[in-house]
Symmetry: C2
Subunit: 188 residues, 2 copies
Amino acid sequence: MESLKERILRDGRCFPGGILKVDSFINHQMDPILMKSIAVEFVRRFASEDINKVITIEASGIAPAIMVGYLLELPVVFAKKKKPSTMQNMLVTKVYSFTKDNTYDVCVSRDFLCKGDRVLFIDDFLANGNAAKGMIDLAAQAGAEIAGMGFIIEKAFQHGGDMLRSLGMRVESLAIIESLDNCEIKIR
Amino acid sequence: MESLKERILRDGRCFPGGILKVDSFINHQMDPILMKSIAVEFVRRFASEDINKVITIEASGIAPAIMVGYLLELPVVFAKKKKPSTMQNMLVTKVYSFTKDNTYDVCVSRDFLCKGDRVLFIDDFLANGNAAKGMIDLAAQAGAEIAGMGFIIEKAFQHGGDMLRSLGMRVESLAIIESLDNCEIKIR
């Protein structure tokens, strides 16, 4: 997706340790027009898939996911990073965050991820793929299938995409970062 | 907003202690078509205001906020509930959660909430108004003005709306819950 790649090169900022900040247009301040274009591209790429629901993980995945759900006229579920006090009847998985070096719970109500569901998982970043692995586990617990996984940005050098594709998952990333070495953004 | 009120009466669930669950269409599973209609109604109500940015707090505010931002073609910022390890140069405020009986930090980068900004604050619920008060504090720290506050659901019996209106704030709530006594939803 050329407009996204150009935007990353223009407004993305690179920090030592393979950190790419896109917080001026994707995950703190968001550009809703770009987000809509991103959603259109996801819809195009997954057009051949049979999907009945869009799913994401709070918080940065919500904006692209709601736009995709709006275009497809499908419900959108966001999994939560902490067990809400009022949520019963839920599925839980543990996700390890490489960036923060900690493990957190991701949970979703059994009412909204169900046997027979064919879900499209949308998120902002694919790095090590741990959040995506957690989503695979939640879907397995629910008896749901993941029809595909769409990411705005994939950091190829952190190999989560390799891992997911080797599991047979259909993965679509709209911008693939080859390297951030020497704080220079190299896009495939 | 009649369609929203009907949906709350149909799909909302009431629990002892003034708890209204709308997690099948607003804050866990989301109905994007309804969310778009909600955004259209916010745009209509704040049509006379001079606004250059939409702001919300993660996570449930993001979906309505991005839809409003899309319609207005304005950037959308979501304040974060925890200091991200990579965020510098930020404004922080403390918010007390009545539901959870704890206090948490809400923060936003100074790069995205600035002097001279006229922001529209969007959130899913207005109860005691503590999150909204936190946003007023962040805006004051930044030298920004809050042009208005839009909530999908206001729980009138928790008086956050009274507090904000007494501060001179323009508050628009699309459905106002008068009472949840005896687990019966009464909408104004």
